[in-house]
């Protein structure tokens, strides 16, 4: 350590080298009344009792309603959660689900638009290709893995907005359940596909002509030209 510091340098505790501004606060009075304790207790009790008598007087004279009796009347605001739940708005964003088609396959085509849009980067998808025999071969791909980390998710709904296939929805009406380990918040594809919307359906109300469906034109060089 240096033994000699130049006098011009001020200690670093003073910000910007300016003098510290101070304010002197007076200590509580320690007079006889405070030190003797009992007079102060009597003062406090007097305050309490005067309020008690005032309230009682107002109640007896009917100047104010009785909060105890009020509790027995209708219009209680306490809900017995979780047995009772408040109705949620129609567009409440709950846990995700993956919608399915009539044959049980996922509608998702693993385009990664949702994971691109996701600001929390909580969606991981690995894409796969349908078999050569499948009618969807060449038209679509499907998610081999589809993982959502519900702990990371901020429930913004961007994934739902981004999805071109109406394959991911947040209409389950469910909260994330308080699990006891982090792994349980990692929702895999099959769990997401098993979840239903609030109407109890695993499909979507917006069907469309899918390649491979009977309703799809399914034209090709041999059949159309």
């Amino acid at each position: 350590m240096s033994t000699h510091a130049p006098e011009s340098t001020k200690p670093w505790t003073k910000p910007r080298g300016t003098e510290l501004t101070t304010k002197v606060i007076a200590r509580p009075k320690r007079d006889f009344e405070v030190q003797a304790y009992l007079p102060a207790v009597a003062k406090g009790l007097a305050q309490t009792m005067s309020t008690f008598f005032r309230n009682t007087k107002e109640m007896v004279l009917g100047q104010k309603s009785d909060p105890v009796l009020e509790g027995f009347s209708d219009g209680v605001t306490t809900l017995q959660y979780p047995e009772e739940k408040r109705p949620y708005p129609e567009r409440f964003r709950g846990l995700h689900r993956l919608t399915i088609r009539d044959d049980g396959s996922p509608r998702c085509v693993a385009c990664l638009c949702c994971s691109t849009a996701c600001p929390a980067q909580c969606i991981h998808i690995e894409a796969g290709e349908y078999d050569e025999e499948s009618g969807r071969h060449g038209y679509e791909r499907y998610p081999v893995r589809f993982v959502i980390d519900e702990l990371r998710c901020i429930f913004c709904g961007f994934c739902v907005e981004a999805c071109p296939c109406d394959a991911i929805r947040m209409d389950t009406g469910m909260h994330a359940v308080p699990y006891d380990s982090r792994e349980q918040f990692i929702y895999e594809r099959d769990l997401l596909m098993a979840m239903t919307g609030r109407d109890g359906s695993r499909k979507t109300a917006n069907p469309r002509h899918e390649p491979g469906d009977p309703s799809h034109p399914g034209l090709d060089r041999e059949h159309a030209h």
Binding site: C111, R221, A224
Partner: protein, 548 residues
């Protein structure tokens, strides 16, 4: 025009054309698009490619050429819809020219962005090309780098008016071991056809049918299986050809590119290594334009060689086959190789044509200047397939660099080390590939004290008493000298895996633990030590943006 009139008689007018009023020089024989491309002006195009012949079939590069003063303009008679009369009325419009086919002439005026007729024509061409397109961008690997997407935004921005069902064609057709074809996405620009014929010299692709039924087809009885198949995917401006290797693996907008040099052979093709920084994984190689080396191309072997950045790696130091920390391995090296300079005649030093000039320089300097070793050898991968296009038989990226570096003590091949194995007790080697039989090498080096700095598993790594984990080319900056003698810099893309460190850093640490002053700790320090070796910076940074 009037400004040029006085000099027009006496001297030849300068080789300059004006695109939208901007003066651009051209070389005799240039087409408009070529001169514009060189000057950095982007005229939209699908079928034109600077490395291929001109097809002029996509009609996207149409430009307006006002006639010279006093000459009538070429016009086309058309029928124009008149909303007031509710009928078509006769009209005319200027005849536009494809700029990929039109030769430049001195003083020529070209209207590209500034012409309303051109803008209309481009929007119409774009609508026509998208007429039967499936618009399946969400599942298309090209999405994000697709011309149809880019030009739709730049030149069309309207929906298509056709209400009929689109023409359906074969989808996900396997063309060969590497390529999948989707005819619905194809705009039949014939880039792939021309590439196979002109560059790969294997005319295996052609076009069948006409009009909106046409599609690319492989010759009967053949597959698309020459050595440059992945280039057909690379030149495809849309998602019609996709690579089986890259298919569905990643979306391109998640990838970042590093300017690297291909490690597949001694040609040293300039490449982009595309990787995802989030999971530190390489996904593909793309050729990087370099007129002196690979023009616009790369071979399949090189395109797929990006996998070597992760496959067969050594990620931790080994002593006698057991994983140890780097410090322990260096301590072991110190005890085994102590007082090496007193036994310098018994030391064999093996340089590697697989490793960068920096790595080899570090080992060569340590061995020659500090230890005083006299016996140098060079090793690398054995000879492979070569051709007249790009592939070299020498499958090592830095053979010329090593020979150049160790010119004072010409390194001998590994076979001589095996023949004279009894003369040596100590072997310090770089790299793990050898061009000789692995069993011979293992037998010859049995009982010797071997230290190897290597990035991949291999015969040399197997016989090493002390093995230090080096990074691959993708994980550190390095210089590689190709067979033409060009020293090219390859940039770092990925973070090193495991305990791997650049080879020169390991050699420097080894030197320091043996008590030598190998004080290179940063890349700039070893580069300065290597000077006056001139190193070429990677080609212009905007090369990544400009697409052929």
């Amino acid at each position: 025009m009037t400004a040029q009139a006085p000099q027009g008689e006496a001297t030849k007018p300068p080789n300059i054309i004006r695109i939208d009023g901007r003066e651009i020089p051209f070389e005799p024989g240039d087409t408009i698009i070529k001169a514009a491309h060189r000057a950095g002006i982007d005229i939209p195009h699908y079928c034109w490619h600077p490395g291929l012949s001109v097809a002029a079939n996509c009609r996207m590069c149409l430009v307006e050429l006002p006639p010279p003063a006093g000459r009538p303009a070429m016009r086309l008679d058309v029928l124009r819809w008149d909303p007031e009369k509710q009928d078509y009325v006769p009209d005319s419009k200027p005849k536009l020219q494809p700029s990929c086919q039109q030769q430049c002439a001195p003083g020529m005026d070209v209207l590209s962005e500034s012409s309303e007729n051109v803008a209309k024509a481009r929007a119409a061409v774009q609508e026509l090309l998208l007429l039967n397109h499936p618009v399946d961008c969400p599942i298309c690997d090209q999405a994000g780098e697709c011309r149809l997407q880019d030009y739709w935004l730049q030149h069309q921005r309207s929906g298509k008016r056709m209400k009929q069902e689109v023409v359906h064609k074969p989808k996900a057709l396997s063309f060969g071991p590497t390529i999948v074809y989707d005819a619905e996405r194809c705009i039949v620009c014939t880039r792939c056809v021309r590439f196979s014929e002109e560059v790969a010299k294997d005319p295996v692709l052609s076009v069948r049918e006409r009009g909106n039924l046409n599609e690319i087809t492989v010759s009967p009885g053949r597959e698309l299986d020459h050595d440059y198949t992945l280039m057909t995917e690379h030149v495809c401006p849309v998602g019609a050809l996709t690579s089986k290797d890259f298919r569905f693996k990643a979306r391109v907008w998640f990838l970042r590119s590093a300017r690297t040099v291909c490690q597949g052979c001694s040609t040293g093709c300039n490449a982009f290594l595309d990787f995802d920084p989030r999971n530190n994984t390489p996904y593909r190689h793309r050729p990087r334009e370099n007129a002196e080396v690979n023009q616009y191309w790369m071979c399949d072997e090189g395109m797929l060689s990006y996998k070597r950045a992760v496959e067969g790696r050594i990620t931790s130091a080994l002593v006698g086959g057991a994983k140890v920390s780097l410090e322990d391995a260096l301590a072991e090296a110190k005890s085994v190789f102590a007082k090496l300079e007193s036994k310098k005649a018994r030391v064999a030093v093996v340089l590697s044509a697989q490793h960068s000039l920096e790595d080899n320089f570090a080992l060569y300097t340590l061995a020659k200047s500090f230890i005083g070793a006299e016996s140098f050898f060079v090793t690398g991968k054995p000879l492979g397939k070569g051709d007249d296009i790009l592939m070299s038989e020498d499958k090592n990226p830095n053979t010329a660099g090593v020979l150049q570096l160790a010119a004072d003590t010409p390194p001998k091949p590994m076979s001589e080390l095996i023949a004279k194995a009894d003369a040596f007790d100590y072997v310090i080697a770089l790299g793990s590939d050898v061009e000789v039989e692995a069993a011979e090498l293992i037998a010859a080096l049995r009982g010797k004290k071997v230290l190897v700095v290597a990035s991949h598993q291999g015969p040399l790594a197997k016989v090493a008493n002390v093995l230090l984990p080096a990074t691959v080319w993708a994980e550190c900056d390095g210089t590689f000298v190709n067979k033409q003698g060009l020293a090219q810099v390859s940039e770092r893309a990925l973070a090193p895996r495991g305990d791997a460190q650049p080879g020169w850093k390991l050699v420097a640490q080894l030197g320091r633990s043996l008590g030598f002053a190998t004080e290179w700790k940063r890349l700039s320090e070893i580069r300065r030590a290597m000077a006056p070796e001139p190193t070429r910076a990677p080609s212009a940074p905007d090369a990544q943006e400009a697409r052929p």
